[in-house]
Every structure is written in C-alpha cells, then in structure tokens.
Symmetry: none
Subunit: 206 residues, 4 copies
DNA sequence: AATGAATGAGAGTTCATTCAT
DNA sequence: TATGAATGAACTCTCATTCAT
C-alpha cells in the first residue's frame, strides 16, 4: 500500500475517503452520487475512479476508517491500569469525541455498513465485536472490583453504552454547537449509576 | 379520507404502507425501489401509483404511521395518575413494544425521515417534539416527587431514554428472538437508577 | 349509427367529441391524456372507452367533426350564383366564423391530423382537397369574369386564402375578444386587392 | 458559453439541437421521444443528457435557435435605406428562406413554443414582438411614403404577412421540391397589392 | 352507463462505470 | 493524474387500455 503510490496519490486518496464520508453521512450511501463525492473533492466524476474501484469500495474504506482507530483506542483503555470508573469515562470520552473528529466516517459506519457485501462486512464486524467485547471485559472487571452489582448483564451493559453514545453522537454531528464535555459527563454519570450496586430495593411497579 | 374510497382501496392502501415500511426499513429509502414495494404487495410496479402519488409520499405515510399512535400512547402515559417509576416503565415498554408491532415503520421514521421535504417533516417534527416534551414532563414530576435528584437535566434525560430505546429497538427489529421483556426491564432499571438521587459522591474525574 | 344507440348515448358521445376537441386544442394530441378528456366531461377515465375505442379514434372524430360542415358550406358557396367578390367574402366569413363556433375542432384538424394513421387521413384529405379545389374554382371564375388578372396562379391563391384564414383563426381562438367582423373585412380586402388586375406596373426592386 | 466547453462538445451540441429540431418538427414536442432525438444523432438515449439537461431545455434551445438570426435579419432590413417595396420583398424572402435553411427549428418555434414554461417563453416572446414591431414600422413608413393607403391597419398588415409566410413555410418544409423564389414573388405580389392605395372603389358587399 | 382497480409498455432521467486521451 | 464523452442499466412515473362489477 505504501511505496506503490506517490505522496500526492496518498494525500488525494485520503482526501477522497473524507469526501466520501462527508457525502455518505449527509445523504446516505444510496442517496449520494459519485458526482457529489467528486465535487466535494474538487475533481471530476470520472477521476474518482482513480482512487476507488467502485462506489461500494469507497463505502468500505470509509467504514473501516471510521472505526479502526476508534477500536484501537478502546484496546488501550481496556488494557490500561485504571479503576472501572475511569475506564468507563475514558470509553465514553473516546466514543463521543470520535464523532467530533472523524465524525462523519463513524456515523457512516454505523448507518450504512449494512449495504456492504457480506465479505466486506466481516472485518468490520470483527472490529465491532472486539470493541464490544473489550467493553464487556471492563464491566466484568467492574463487577469483580465491587464497583458494580453482581447481577449485571455485561452484554446488555456494553450494548447500552454503545447505544447511548451512538444516539448522542448523531445529535452531536447534527448540532456542532453542543457542549461535548457536558454530554460526556452526563452520559458517564447516567451509565455509572445505572449499573451500580443498589441501596435498598426501589422496585418499579407494573 | 374515509368515505371517498372503497373498502378494498382502504385495505390495499394500508397493505401498501406496510409493504413500503418493510422495504424502506430493509434497504433504506434510496436503496429501495418502487418495484420492491409493489412486489412485496403482490401487485405490479405501475399499480403502486394507484395508492401513492410518489415514492416520497409513501415515505411520508410510513413515517406518520410509524409514530402517530406511539405518540398518543405517550400522551396517555403522561396524563395518567401513576408514580414516576411506573410512568418510566410504561414509556419504555410502549417504546420498545412498538418495534415489535409496527416495528419497521418506526425504524423508518427514525432513519429516513430526513429525506422528506421540509414541509412534510413539519408534522412529524411536531409529533416528535410532543413526545420528547411529554417525557421531559415526566422527569420534572420525578424531581418534584423526590424520586430524582434536583440537578437532573430533564432534556438530557429524555433524549437519553429515547436514544437507549431506539438503539435497542434497532437490535430488536433485527433479531426477533430476543426476549423483549427482559430488555424492557433492564433498560428501565438502568435509566431509573441512572437518574436517581446519589448516596455518597462517587464523582469521576475529568 | 342512429338507432343502435339511446338518446343519452348520442348526447354523451357528442359531449365527448367536444371535450376531446377542447383538450386536444389546448395541449395537442400527444400532450393530452384521456384522463384530461374524461375530466372535462365529468366522467372517469375508464368510462371514456364507452364512447371511443381509443384515443386515436377520438382524434379522428374530432378532426372529421372539425371540417365536415365547413367543407359543406364551401360547396354551397361555390355552387351559388354570386359574383366573385361576394363568394370570396362568403368564404372568408365562413372560414373565420368556424373558429368562433366549433373553433377547437377545426384547429385540431389543422394541427393534429398528421398524427392519424394514413388510412384515417384519407377521408380528411379528400375533404380538404375538395375545399381547396372549390376555392380554386371560384378563382377561375374570377378570372373569367375579369375581376382577376389572367396571370393569377389559382392554386397559389387558394392556398394563400386558406393560409391567411388559418393563421388569423389561430389568433382568434387564442383571443376571444377580437372583433371577428373587422378581421373578416380586412382579410377580404387584402386578398381581393392582392389578386386583382394591376394598374400600371409597380414592380418591386431587389 | 464559449470557453467552458471543448470544440467537440460544441459541435455535438449543435448537432443535438438540429436533431431535436428535426424530430420535434416531425412529431411535435410531446410526440417525440428523447430516444428519437438521440438516434437521429447517432448516440444512445442516455448520452443525450450530456448535451441537454432535459427534453424541455432542448425545446427551448431549438426555439431560440429557430428565431434568433431570423429576427436579426429583420432588424437589418428595417434599418436599411430602401423603399417600402424593397423592404417587403426582403422580409418575405428572408422569412421564407429561413424555412429552407434552418427550416425545422423555425417551424418548431411556431408550433411548439407554447409547451415551454412561462419564464423560458419570455425571451422568445420579446424576439417575436420585436419582429412584428419592426414589420409594423416598415408598413408605417410605407404609408408615409405614399406607397400604402392611409387607412391601413399596420398591426393587421404585419400579422398577415407573418401568417402568409408561416403557412407557406409549412408547405415548403413539407415539400422540398417547391420553387422557393416563385412563392416568394407571388407572396410579395399578393401582399404589396393587397395593401396598396385603391383606384376606384370596388367595395365588396356584406 | 359508468366505475374502480389493475396492467404493461414506454417515457424522461439519473448514475455508476469505462476508456481513450 | 485527470478529464471529457459515452454507455447501459435501473429507476420513478405516466398513461392508454382492459375488464369485472
């Protein structure tokens, strides 16, 4: 991948991935046209095929770009030597910050990856699972350390964290004026306490 | 609307809305073709236009169908005379059950309503706001009743409930074998405790 | 034709021909839809086929209706015992008045008859030729009577009369406020003098 | 318009306008298909849209092409320093010759411009009015110079000239074997004498 | 005498893709 | 490295026509 291409190519290729991410995020994969992408890059439609073999390949690259370092960061967090609370905060910070930085690509991954052919989805699925499993591991540690109640369903917990973050992520992407750190704090607070050991037993009625 | 059309027309029209919901949910608005919808109904493509003036109109009807009674149910819950905990449970139950019943239409509303022209989005936006505001009202009551801490940001809380429910809704739609009531209970538990008054002060760092 | 159908049918059929004439005149044959015609009649699209076997047949009937009595009137004029000047005036009066009375049908005949299949055009062509030939006959009489110069090309003259009348007819149809008799007089004057014997020889330069 | 496009593009674009003119003239705007036009150009249907944004735009360009230099020529004639008779002859020659040269486009302008949206018709209407007004001016000069009788209605005269020319133009387009100059001469003769001062008073009856 | 419902062919248009230059 | 030109398949939508009722 490196070596076969000039510097300019690499730059333009990256430029292309970002343009595609931006357009796909805005219009969806099927609603976006290759012309849209090319125009956002400042080149002509036909020239796009110098950087992508097909529109679908572009989607694939965007999706991969969208989660890969996001997953890596989770690996770091999981392996780090911090108490459960700090890890959860770090996770949420990382997740929500992603939407501000590479924002569009992550959104595209979440919303459009289904339109990829099965084979191409495999790697993404692995990365996604790795993310969720790392997160589940963090929750297991939390139980062991006594920070969380024994009965917690770690799979449910991880999925919920991802869900909350993604839904706030969507809102963040749509409204750039929102205070990111305020949201991070409130989400962390919600999730931290939501999964903690209970005092008495305030069971809800039906 | 009633009176101007035959019984058969009404039936088929409803049939068409469901077919459209199903196809849009699966492939997205732009990824779905009118041929797909017609075929799911068992009629020919051209005949679809006897029931919809355009593909876009079909999307509009699906979206409306997707939220209208779901919003009404929230109205009922909000107006009812129950303690906060019961209202939250009822809300979550209603929201997640929707995904099982009219499932696809609600999903379509959430994911595809952006592709509607502004004017058509207005009514949907009103309904959506009504939902969120009712939910915020429930949280305000919860604060007043002492069930929730004073400092709670009700807007954040409402948005988070919606977010959690929608993200689990997506999962439910995709996997019909999931135990709906297990998820409802766990979500309620998470959210209830996440927003409750705190014991000590396990504050996380920044 | 008469006897096989009820009175109401005959009435509605006539109604249909008029509606078709009106719509064809406004939008052209290909630009008009059978739904347009039905709506102008106050019936539903499918019901139109009770009166016409096809859209094309409707055009055929409109065209025929548009010229037939117009040609008959010309026959009368040609056979009548009047001086040339009176016959020309009568011809022009008849032609231009037609546009006010059955206006749309005649316009349709002129503008849209080409879209009829060859076979159906035959009868129309005969009628049209009969008209032109009668008119040529009138001009020949005019020469014989000394009202017109010997050198006049009667075919050219007849064609020109028709051309002038049709072009003014179009204008009359489009603007119902025009003074029909003013136009008739001016046209007659133009054509009468345009074809008359010359005084000196005011040849135009190049 | 020049500079933004390749030479080849300009050529093909012109080619496309001519093909469209030809097809519209033959089948009418609504009766003609974009496939017809493309085929006449020797390209595939989809490729036509490289040269026209829409079928309607094609009609607009054809109409404009059909009258623009035809109007300019009239401007020249009107401004030139010739006696009335010469100007009339020049006008008729120009008008009828147009049908031989750019033939189809002018016919399309006359017959199909109504199908253009209002905004696009504005420019055409201006050009058409300019033509008619120039012609009226010529007739006014004719009156002043004594070549025409005082009582002449110049608007009627101009409209009639246009009408005669257009109706002969249609015939010329349909039958390429006709002797153009014979018709020009006969039309000029008809119109010149039709509007001239009268000798005695051969008034027609009513 | 008229309608509702459906059909199928064809329309205009868009678009991912290719390829010579 | 990038473009202009073209393609063909797919798409949304319209419409003349049919037919059971």
């Amino acid at each position: 991948m490196s070596g076969t291409h000039t510097d300019k190519y690499q730059q333009q290729h990256h430029h292309a991935v970002c343009a595609a991410a931006s357009v796909f995020a805005e219009k969806g994969f099927h609603g976006a046209s290759t012309k849209d992408i090319a125009e956002r890059m400042g080149i002509k439609q036909g020239s796009l095929y110098y950087y992508f073999k097909s529109k679908e390949e572009a989607l694939g690259e965007v999706c991969l770009f969208g989660i890969e370092d996001y997953v890596q960061r989770m690996d770091h967090i999981a392996k780090s030597d911090q108490p459960f609370e700090a890890k959860l905060l770090a996770t949420i910070t990382s997740h929500l910050s992603s939407y501000r930085e590479k924002n569009e690509a992550l959104k595209v991954h979440n919303d459009e990856r289904l339109y990829l052919p099965k084979e191409k989805r495999t790697k993404l699925k692995q990365l996604g699972s790795r993310y969720r499993e790392s997160l589940e591991g963090i929750f297991e540690e939390g139980i062991d350390s006594g920070a969380l109640r024994n009965s917690l369903d770690c799979h449910f917990a991880a999925q919920s964290v991802i869900g909350v973050c993604n839904s706030w992520g969507d809102i963040i992407v749509r409204d750039p004026n929102l205070d990111l750190f305020d949201i991070i704090q409130k989400c962390t607070d919600l999730l931290l306490n939501g999964f903690r050991e209970r005092r008495k037993s305030a069971r809800s009625t039906t």
